[in-house]
Subunit: 151 residues, 2 copies
C-alpha cells in the first residue's frame, strides 16, 4: 500500500504542481503517455486474468507482483487527458472525457480504488479473493471504456 | 525506497516465475511494453531535466515525485527484451542486446542503481544533489542507448 500511496501522491503532485499544458511538450506526447501506462497495465492485468480463468496456473507471488504494478499504473494515465488532447496520435478518446469531467474523474478514482483492492486481494494468496477483485476491476475497466473510449 | 524495492521484486519475480516467452502474447507486445515503460520514464526524467537546466523552476516536491516514477519505471523494460524481439514493431534495438547479454544486463542494473540514487537525491530537496544524480543517470541512459539502440 506504500507503493500505491506513493505513486498516487506522485501523480497528484505532478498534476497539481505544474500547469497541465506544461507537463507534455505536445498533445501527442500526452496521448502516448496515457496509452503507454494503460498498455503496461493491461499486460500485467492480463497475466492475472490468465490465472483467474485457469489458462495459467495460479502463482500467488506472481499474481501479487502483477497486481502491485496494475495498481501503480492506474495512477498515471489521467495527467495525459489534458485539454487539447482529444485529437491526435491514434487516440480513441471520446469527447465525453472533457464534456463530462466529473464523471470521468469518478471512474478514474474508481479504477484506482479497485486496483488497490486487487493488490490487497492478491496479497492474501487466496485465489477466490483474487477472482472477486479481478472481476470488480475488470468491470471498472469496461465501464470506463464503454463510456469514454471509441471502439 | 520501499517503492523501488517493491517494483524491483515485482519485475524479478515476474521474470523468474513465468517462462519469458509466455509473458507476452506476441513479440510486438513485448516491444511495445518496453517502449512504453521507457517513454513514461523519459517524460518524468525530462521534467527533472528542465529543473536541473533552469528551464523550469526548481520544485523539490515535484522533482522527488518525478524521480520516484523514473526509478520505478527503470525496473520494467527488461522483461520486454526476450529472445525473438529483435525485430518487429518499430524497434531500434541493436542485435548486441542478445549477443552481449552480460553487458546489457550490467547496464540495466546500472540504470536501476542510478535512478534509485536519483530518487534519493531528489528526496533531499537539494538542487545540487539533484544535478549530480541527474547527470549520472543521463550518462547511463546515453551509454546504453549508444551501445544498444540504433539511431
Amino acid at each position: 500500500m506504500k507503493t500505491l500511496s506513493c505513486i498516487a501522491t506522485a501523480a497528484t503532485l505532478v498534476a497539481l504542481s505544474v500547469p497541465a499544458a506544461a507537463q507534455f511538450a505536445k498533445p501527442e506526447d500526452a496521448i502516448k503517455y496515457r496509452q503507454s501506462a494503460m498498455f503496461i497495465q493491461s499486460q500485467h492485468f492480463g497475466r492475472i486474468g490468465a490465472m483467474v480463468s485457469g489458462k495459467a496456473p495460479f502463482d500467488a507471488a506472481a499474481a501479487a507482483e502483477n497486481a502491485a504494478i496494475v495498481a501503480d499504473m492506474s495512477k498515471l494515465p489521467w495527467a495525459g487527458f489534458m485539454p487539447g488532447t482529444d485529437k491526435g496520435g491514434n487516440t480513441k478518446a471520446k469527447p465525453e472525457i472533457w464534456t463530462e469531467q466529473a464523471k470521468f474523474k469518478e471512474t478514474n478514482e474508481k479504477l484506482m480504488a479497485e486496483t488497490a483492492k486487487l493488490a490487497a486481494a492478491a496479497k492474501t494468496g487466496n485465489l477466490d479473493n483474487l477472482k472477486t477483485a479481478f472481476a470488480a476491476t475488470a468491470d471498472t475497466c469496461k465501464s470506463c471504456h464503454d463510456n469514454f473510449r471509441n471502439k
